[in-house]
């Protein structure tokens, strides 16, 4: 099973909170939450400031990733535990990112901040100091990353899974509803995409559903697991969540995250777009 090597429980984190080989990283779009309180010994990455190139739209380079992990005290043989708010959206994005750069042992805290908070588990405000390392990343693994041209070529051929909310899929909303609805892209979805919202893979407390329920979710919605699959959302973080479910929990081969997602696709000139449910 893949679940054991990719996912840990809150109890596991509590037991390993001082394990020197374990590095806990909170990943969010809003790191003020980390400042208010975080899991003991956790460091933090900001998904944009730390993980986006900033000049061009892309992941940070291999060299910058190595520098980030080195200064954060993460070694090639560290067990990295990721968690965050927003039902682990940005933590699963970081998980996918660590796999793109070939990190061996990275795992996700099931339920993230939300379940930890609902369980009233402790947070601290002390920021740990970690000894710098010399981290060596691998070249990017593009077998788990989709680019726009292969997405266009996949229309009507491969599984395309749109993991946004039904309201975004249909074109009613342009972004998740915690953001103002003034976006540059047109509204709608990639033709032939199946709308399987990321949230259907999670329980209300943010933890993942069982493998049996997850498999039924995708197969029942018409995804042929024998075919290659591309997942997308708006900016690639919720689709990293669904990529995690398919690739890591269910062990499906040939699943890619299209991190350009709707903010790229919905801005392209001349590509086909569908609206409605």
């Amino acid at each position: 099973m893949s679940r054991e090597k990719s996912l840990v429980s809150a109890d596991w984190v509590t037991e390993n909170i001082s394990n020197p080989n374990v590095v806990i990283v909170e990943v969010d779009e809003d790191t003020t939450l980390y400042e208010q309180g975080h899991i003991q010994n956790a460091i933090t990455f900001h998904w944009r400031d730390d993980l986006q190139d900033g000049l061009i739209r892309d992941l940070i380079s291999k060299e910058k990733f190595e520098a980030l992990l080195s200064k954060s005290g993460i070694s090639n043989d560290s067990t990295v535990i990721l968690y965050g708010g927003n039902n682990n959206w940005f933590a699963t994005y970081a998980f996918w990112y660590f796999k793109v750069y070939g990190h061996q042992d990275v795992r996700l805290l099931d339920g993230g901040r939300k379940r930890w908070e609902l369980d009233a588990r402790p947070f601290v405000t002390e920021v740990p100091t970690r000894t710098a390392t010399r981290y060596v990343a691998k070249d990017r693994d593009n077998s788990i990353r989709a680019y726009r041209d292969e997405v266009i070529a996949a229309i009507g051929v491969l599984n395309i899974v749109d993991v946004r909310s039904p309201a975004e899929f249909s074109g009613e909303l342009a972004a998740p509803a915690h953001l103002p609805q003034e976006q540059g892209q047109i509204k709608g979805h990639i033709p032939t995409a199946k709308n399987i919202p990321w949230s259907k893979a999670a329980n209300e407390d943010g933890t993942f559903k069982s493998d049996i329920e997850l498999k039924e979710l995708y197969v029942g919605a018409g995804v042929d697991l024998a075919k290659d699959t591309i997942a997308y959302c708006r900016i690639g973080e919720r689709s990293a969540f669904s990529w995690f479910v398919l690739h890591e929990l269910l062990g499906v081969a040939n699943v890619k995250n299209y991190d350009g997602s709707w903010t790229e696709y919905g801005s392209l000139v001349g590509v086909p777009v569908a609206v409605g449910a």
Binding site: L33, Q36, G85, N86, N87, K114, E117, L118, D119, A120, S165, P166, A167, E172, L173, A175, P176, A177, H178, L179, P180, Q181, E182, P197, S199, K200, E204, D205
Partner: protein, 111 residues
Amino acid sequence: MKTCGATPGGPSLDGLLAKGIDLRTQTIIQGVVLKAGDDGVPNGTPVGNAHVRLLDRNGEFTAELPTNSQGQFRFFAAAGAWTLVVQAPGARVEQQVTAAQGSLADLVISL
């Protein structure tokens, strides 16, 4: 759960206006989460870091936010019927709300 619609409590709109967001184009659902007193009526203590989840008319997840330190939250939705689910340690309530473009649905939710 009881709510008190007479004293809206969501965040100020000034920040949105300062960002140049045209409120006539937005469909805002916002509010404040307050602790319930013994009688079930909000007692005025804000609940920060509660999880507020927005479900569409079919019960499908659309967005989720933690409340701020004043217990406040804000969504940008579309016109129609929505459900809010508010969770905090040991507590969960649901609240129905109808939203319309250009108007403000402002709620006080007792948890």
